[in-house]
């Protein structure tokens, strides 16, 4: 997932678009640092550097420095390609502007539309992780097949499933990976979840399930996606004896949100959770920093 772009020339900002802000670092000083590395790059060469859960991909063209911030574990190759196409696009319009002194007085904001279009070509990868029967497939279908309504019968998912979600999440689109939750499939998750940005830890809000999640799912998630953002879905809130989202959050060490995935009424809420996690507008946890409490 691409989060930001900054374009500098001679220390001035030509253009910036911040889709999701990097709250936990000092963006300005990081930008100064990265821009000076970028200045030393050959024309059309791409390089990148990582800080915490972010990766900064940068390039130098016509003495302008292009810096794209992405989630650290997203697919670098795709962001490199995106960088190429966005710099080409930029140069198509502004090449001559940059070659004269004109750039000092030019308004570059129209580039924003092109930038966001390119951002939308790389799906934000989200993974539904949890034990079999907790509601992952139901959530996948609730999001992507609203007309059919979530299936009520339980068909265990073999290995995994996936679907593309295009909703009102501009500029992002999402690819949802539903991970087969039977024990024999958990060891396979690594093959599926690489490059994930978002993890939804799906539970059926029972004690036994939370135990399973911590024991079986956590090690795999922490090993594979330490920099991804996570929230827990406290599903099946309608069932008697369901632990509350607060209780689930306490036991899992991850903010938890209540859900009833088999109810079409919950679609809005589910989509809002996806959106809010992508835009970091709710409480979440970085997978590698999860500490199991109780």
């Amino acid at each position: 997932m691409i989060r930001e772009i900054h374009i500098f020339k001679e220390g001035q900002t030509l253009f910036k678009d911040i889709i999701v802000e990097n709250k936990d670092i000092d963006t300005d000083s990081v930008m100064t640092l990265v821009a000076s590395s970028a200045q030393n790059l050959q024309e059309w060469k791409i390089d990148s550097t990582e800080i915490n859960r972010y990766r900064f991909v940068y390039m130098n063209s016509h003495n302008a420095q292009f810096i794209v911030t992405m989630d650290r574990q997203s697919s670098l190759q795709k962001v490199n390609e995106a960088m190429m196409s966005l710099v080409s696009r930029f140069m198509m319009v502004f090449e001559s502007t940059l070659e004269s002194d004109e750039w000092k007085s030019t308004d570059f904001t129209p580039f924003g539309i092109g930038f966001r279009k390119i951002v939308g070509t790389i799906p934000v990868k989200m993974c539904l992780a949890g034990h079999g029967g907790t509601g992952k497939t139901t959530l996948l279908e609730l999001a992507t097949l609203p007309s059919r309504g979530p299936a009520q019968e339980y068909v265990p998912t073999f290995f995994g499933d996936k679907a593309l979600l295009k909703a009102d999440f501009d500029p992002y689109i999402f690819s949802i990976f539903d991970l087969g939750g039977q024990d024999r499939f958990v060891q396979e998750w690594g093959k599926i979840i690489r490059s994930g940005s978002l993890v939804f830890i799906v539970t059926d809000s029972t004690e036994a399930n939370l135990e399973w999640t911590k024991r079986i799912a956590y090690p795999v998630l922490k090993a594979e996606l330490p920099y991804a953002r996570a929230i827990a879905i406290a599903n099946k809130q309608d069932l008697p004896g369901a632990l509350s989202p607060q209780e689930v959050a306490g036991k899992l060490g991850v903010p938890a949100y209540g859900m009833q995935a088999n109810q079409l009424d919950f679609r809005e809420r589910w989509l809002e959770l996806i959106r809010a996690l992508a835009f970091e507008e709710l409480e979440f946890k970085i997978v590698g920093e999860i500490k199991e409490t109780e």
């Binding site: 990868k125 290995f159 995994g160 593309l164 060891q187 396979e188 093959k191």
Partner: protein
């Protein structure tokens, strides 16, 4: 006949994606849920250390899949890693057990820069022929592929080599980095090589168990058939004379430069054997001399095509034509092109020498001698008898 063929690769953001399919209108069997399943079946339990590429089949309600998977390395690199056939529910996927790997290997070997994309449609058109490939044709396909031919050449010289070294040599010879594993797999299956781990060595060791090449032999039943035929005496005599002379010359060339003679034949004759029409022609001619006018009926090819194939084979000194008293043309094999495998006796001494001069690790040499002992024809016969 399958519904179609498709190539899949793994994309981290999108999951399995179909990179190319044929025919273009193929839809069934390509939805993401099915592709995930195919991936699941193929990769289940697989790790980097123990990859499990190979053939598998899946049955769904409305279709079946015959899948050939290239292994976790290709999967992780985002290279095309799965080739599958979509089949009717009644079709038996096992029919394609040998044909699909053959096609998939060619696709995988041309994965870089998407070179394989142009090959997919023509390969698919040949699929039913591939299912009928004889053992000899499968061996010929090894000999026509420059990479696998190169491997056999190296092994016929040295007997045993480290997989990592082999990779390097191939890289130097064909100019591209190749997943040795994919290339070797069919050779293991054919019983031509064996692989194993030797303590203390960092990469897998490869051993030759049978040498593979092409020879032009004298076909005794053809000679007998010519002698017993009603062909005029002068015609048969001139055939026998020219055939004899050809073989004399051939043997001289073998003596003179064994390597060059054998390998240039392997390349050329291998190609004829993989051309299904030409191979049909050779097969028919191996049985007996045939009157030209009977050929179209026997191999259901047009006259023009037959003429073309025959003139190629004539130039290659594989067939010859003679006329009888009624001016009818007869087509006869001048020599019998055969793909042969032989026990590599010479490698026993060679291995001992390499061991003595410390060119190969002692464990590796010992292991190879053991492999050679076990694959010795006498042992094979013993095993067959026991079974």
């Amino acid at each position: 006949m399958p519904e179609g063929l498709a190539v899949l690769k793994w994309d981290d953001e999108l999951g399995p994606i179909v990179t190319i399919r044929t025919p273009k209108k193929l839809k069934i069997g390509l939805d993401p849920t099915t592709s995930m399943r195919a991936y699941g079946i193929a990769t289940l339990g697989e790790t980097k250390e123990s990859q499990k590429p190979g053939f598998s089949s899946l049955a769904f309600e409305d279709f079946k899949l015959a899948v050939y998977y290239g292994g976790l390395n290709m999967h992780l690199k985002g290279l095309p890693s799965m080739v599958f056939l979509v089949l009717h529910p009644e079709e038996d996927p096992d029919v394609y057990k040998d044909a699909l790997p053959e096609i998939a290997t060619q696709i995988f070997l041309n994965a870089e820069n998407d070179a394989y994309e142009k090959m997919v449609a023509p390969l698919y058109k040949q699929i039913s022929r591939y299912t009928q490939m004889t053992a000899e044709q499968q061996q010929a396909s090894v000999l026509t592929d420059p990479v696998r031919r190169g491997i056999i050449q190296i092994l016929m010289k040295n007997g045993t080599v480290l997989s990592a070294d082999l990779e390097q040599v191939i890289f130097e010879e064909v100019g591209k980095k190749i997943d040795v594993d994919i290339v070797l797999r069919p050779l293991v299956k054919m019983g031509i090589i064996a692989t194993g781990w030797v303590e203390g060595l960092s990469s897998e060791v490869i051993y030759l168990t049978r040498a593979l090449f092409v020879l032009r032999t004298v076909s005794h039943n053809i000679v007998r058939a010519v002698l017993e035929s009603d062909l005029p005496k002068d015609a048969t005599e001139s055939y026998l004379e020219s055939s004899k002379e050809y073989h004399r010359d051939y043997v001289a060339r073998l003596r003179n430069d064994l390597f060059k003679t054998v390998w240039s034949d392997a390349e050329e004759i291998g190609k004829y054997m993989l051309d299904f029409d030409t191979y049909d022609l050779i097969q028919v001619l191996r049985r007996s001399p045939i009157e030209m006018k009977q050929l179209p009926e026997m191999i259901s090819l047009s006259n023009a095509k037959i003429k073309k194939k025959l003139s190629t084979l004539e130039k290659a000194n594989i067939v010859t034509r003679i006329k009888d008293g009624n001016k009818q043309q007869h087509v006869i094999l001048k020599c019998n092109p055969e793909v042969v495998t032989v026990y590599p006796e010479w490698l026993i001494q060679r291995t001992v020498d390499q061991y003595n001069s410390e060119i190969i690790a002692s464990q590796q040499a010992k292991h190879y001698l053991e492999v050679l002992k076990q694959s010795h024809p006498s042992q094979m016969k013993l095993i067959a008898e026991l079974e």
